[in-house]
C-alpha cells in the first residue's frame, strides 16, 4: 500500500506496518520540546498531582523564549521556576534566552527525518521542514507524554502543495503562506500539509521553515517537507546525526493525498494579510498607502538570519521614515551573532532600526514592542488575531521581511518591488 510521509512516520512510531487516515494510534514519542510559558510552570502542579517522575529527561528540550528577558517580578518568577525545574529534574537540554524554541531546535541538530516529536507550542510544525512529524500540544498532554513517553494521535490526511518556478524580486516564502491561508483556508484540522516541487527543493532550510511554521495558520496538525541533501547538510552542520536511511522518509508514488495543488511561484506577488486574519490576504498593492505606526521584524516566522538579510537588502543606504518605527527582534542569539559578524546589523541600525532582545517579544503581545489602543503595525510574524500584539483595538498587517522593510522606509505599507 502506498503511504504518505506522515503515515510512514506514525506507523513507525506506533509500531505498525501501516496506518490509514482516521486511525487512532498510540505513538512513542522521540522528543519533547517545551518553553517557559507552557512548560515547567504549568507542568509542576500536574506532576505533583500524579506523583510520577519524568520518563526520560534526555528526551526533553526546554527553552525560555516567551517571557525573556524578564520585565517585571511575574515574568522573572516564571523564568526562575523554569530554571529551578530544569536543575531539579536533571534536564540537560536547556536553552535559556538563546532564541525562539522553533529556531533553537534545528540550530542544535535535534530534528531529523522520520522522528515523532511533540512540542508545547502551536508553531511546533516549523520543525516539519526536516521531514519529521512535529505538532503542537497543550501542557496537560505534554505532562502525560513526559511521564508515559507516548500519546494518542488521529492519523491525519495529507494535503500536497507543489510549487514550481522561481520567485520574482521582493517575493519570499512568507508570501507563499499568506497566499495559501487565503486559498486553502485556516480550517484544516486533522490534516497535514506536505510541501514540494522544484521551488521548495531550491529553498534553503530557513525558507522551508517559514512554510512549515505557518502550516499552523492553515490549521493543519503539522507541515512536512521530504528530506533531501539540503536537509541532511543542515542537520550535520548543526551537530545532528543523520541515519543512513534518512532520505527514505518520503511519500510513496501514488500515496493517497486528500488534495493535490500546483502553484506557479513566478506568478506570486508580495502579499499582505489585513487585520484580523492571516487568511485576509491580498497582493500588497491592495493595501499600499496604509499608514503604519510600527514595523516589526520578529518571531519564529520572520527574524532568522535570512529574514534579516531581506531587511538589509531593502534598507541598505536608506533611512526609516520618521512617520513610523522599525523594531527588530532577532530569532536567536546565534542569529544576532551572525548578523553582527556579516555586517547586517550595521545596515539595519544605520537605517534607524531599533534592536530588541531575542525572544518571542511583541509577537505574543507580552514582550517589548506591544501596541497601544488604535495603533497599526505591519509585522513579519505569523498571526494577526485581534489583540495579538497588544491592545485589543490595535491592528496588525502581516507581510514578508521585504515588505515590512519597504513599509518602514515609506511610513506606510509599500511594495518592496519599488525599492529593490
Amino acid at each position: 500500500m502506498a503511504l504518505t510521509l506522515v503515515q510512514k512516520i506514525l506507523a513507525r512510531a506506533a509500531g505498525r506496518d501501516s496506518v490509514s487516515p482516521g486511525d487512532i494510534v498510540t505513538a512513542q514519542v522521540d522528543l519533547l520540546m517545551a518553553h517557559d510559558s507552557s512548560g515547567p510552570r504549568r507542568w509542576m502542579p500536574h506532576l505533583e498531582a500524579l506523583g510520577a517522575p519524568l520518563k526520560d529527561p534526555n528526551k526533553i528540550v526546554i527553552v525560555t523564549d516567551h517571557f525573556v528577558p524578564a520585565v517585571d517580578p511575574q515574568s522573572a518568577a516564571i523564568l526562575k521556576t523554569t530554571r529551578d525545574f530544569v536543575k531539579s529534574q536533571g534536564i540537560q537540554h536547556f536553552y535559556d534566552m538563546q532564541g525562539i524554541s522553533h529556531i533553537v531546535l534545528p540550530e542544535h541538530g535535534f530534528l531529523k527525518p522520520g522522528m515523532f516529536v511533540c512540542g508545547g507550542d502551536s508553531h511546533s510544525p516549523t520543525g516539519g521542514a526536516f521531514g519529521c512529524y512535529i505538532a503542537g500540544f497543550g501542557y496537560t498532554d505534554m505532562v502525560a507524554i513526559a511521564v508515559t513517553g507516548e500519546t494518542w494521535v488521529q492519523v491525519p490526511e495529507t494535503i500536497r502543495v507543489n510549487w514550481s518556478g522561481a520567485f520574482g524580486a521582493g517575493v519570499a516564502a512568507k508570501d507563499v503562506m499568506l497566499f495559501l491561508c487565503r486559498e486553502l483556508g485556516m480550517d484544516n484540522s486533522f490534516k497535514v500539509v506536505e510541501f514540494g516541487g522544484d521551488m521548495v527543493r531550491a529553498m534553503d532550510m530557513a525558507e522551508r521553515m517559514v512554510l512549515t511554521n505557518m502550516a499552523a495558520e492553515l490549521g493543519c496538525d503539522t507541515g512536512l517537507i521530504e528530506p533531501d541533501e539540503t536537509t541532511l547538510i543542515h542537520i550535520k552542520a548543526h551537530g545532528g546525526a543523520v541515519d543512513g536511511d534518512a532520505l527514505s522518509w518520503r511519500s510513496d508514488a501514488g500515496a493517497p493525498y486528500t488534495a493535490l495543488h500546483h502553484f506557479d511561484a513566478s506568478a506570486l506577488e508580495p502579499h499582505v494579510a489585513a487585520p484580523h486574519s492571516p487568511a485576509n490576504s491580498a497582493p500588497v498593492t491592495e493595501h499600499s498607502g496604509q499608514s503604519v505606526d510600527q514595523c516589526y521584524i520578529g518571531a519564529c516566522t520572520g527574524a532568522k538570519l535570512s529574514d534579516l538579510h531581506m531587511v538589509a537588502e531593502v534598507l541598505k543606504g536608506r533611512c526609516v521614515s520618521p512617520q513610523t518605527r522599525l523594531l527588530v527582534a532577532p530569532a536567536s542569539t546565534k542569529t544576532t551573532a551572525a548578523a553582527a559578524a556579516d555586517g547586517t546589523l550595521e545596515i539595519l541600525t544605520a537605517a534607524g532600526a531599533i534592536l530588541l532582545p531575542t525572544g518571542c517579544g511583541a509577537c505574543a503581545g507580552m514582550g517589548a514592542g506591544v501596541l497601544a489602543d488604535g495603533e497599526i503595525c505591519i509585522a513579519s510574524i505569523n498571526r494577526n488575531f485581534k489583540g495579538r500584539m497588544g491592545h485589543a483595538n490595535s491592528q496588525v498587517y502581516l507581510a514578508s521581511p521585504y515588505t515590512v522593510a519597504a513599509s518602514a522606509l515609506a511610513g506606510r505599507i509599500a511594495d518592496p518591488r519599488d525599492v529593490l
Binding site: D141, G365, M366, V370, F385
Partner: protein, 160 residues
C-alpha cells in the same frame, strides 16, 4: 436548562485567553475571556451554559488556558461545526466536553438548550428542535468520565 452563547467561525485562543493575561492566575485571566469580541461574556456567562461556535473553534495557539477559562467560567459543553486540533485535545484534557455540531447555525444567542453529553442529545427548548451529535470516541469519553487527563492518567498509573 442552559443558555447558549453563540459566536461565529475561527474563535481564536488570543480571544479566549489574551496574551497579556498569561501571567495571571486563572481566576483573573478568565475574567478577560473573549473581551476583544464580546466584553459582556465573561461577566454574564453562568455555570452550565453552552458555548456554540462555527468552523475552526479554538484556532491559534496551544494555550490550554483557553478551554480552561471557558470551563472556569462555568461553560459545561462546547458545540462547534469544527475544532482546531490542539483546542480539541486541550478541552478534553481539562475536562470540558466538546462536540462536532454541524447545525450550529440553527442555534441563536440566548436560546435555552439541554445537552446530554452521555447520550449526545441536544434539545433547543427555544425552537423545540432536537439534534443528535456523534458520541465521543471511547478514549475521549474515558478522559471526560474521570474529569480530565490528569485524574484519568492517575487512575491508570495506580492500576499499574
Amino acid at each position: 436548562m442552559a443558555r447558549a452563547w453563540v459566536y461565529g467561525d475561527n474563535i481564536d485562543t488570543d480571544a479566549l485567553a489574551p496574551g497579556h493575561t498569561l501571567v495571571m492566575p486563572l481566576d483573573e485571566m478568565a475574567s478577560h475571556c473573549l473581551e476583544a469580541l464580546d466584553p459582556t461574556f465573561a461577566g454574564e456567562v453562568k455555570p452550565g451554559d453552552v458555548f456554540v461556535a462555527g468552523e475552526n473553534m479554538g484556532m491559534g495557539s496551544a494555550r490550554e488556558v483557553a478551554p480552561s477559562a471557558l470551563k472556569h467560567l462555568g461553560v459545561s459543553v462546547v458545540l462547534a461545526k469544527s475544532f482546531a486540533r490542539i483546542f480539541y485535545r486541550n478541552a478534553f484534557n481539562v475536562g470540558l466536553p466538546v462536540f462536532f455540531f454541524p447545525q450550529a447555525d440553527e442555534i441563536h444567542m440566548g436560546d435555552d438548550l439541554i445537552v446530554d453529553i452521555l447520550t449526545g442529545k441536544v434539545h433547543n427548548l427555544t425552537t423545540d428542535k432536537t439534534y443528535h451529535v456523534t458520541p465521543l470516541p471511547p478514549h475521549l469519553a474515558g478522559i471526560i468520565r474521570d474529569g480530565g487527563l490528569i485524574p484519568h492518567l492517575k487512575k491508570k498509573l495506580i492500576k499499574q
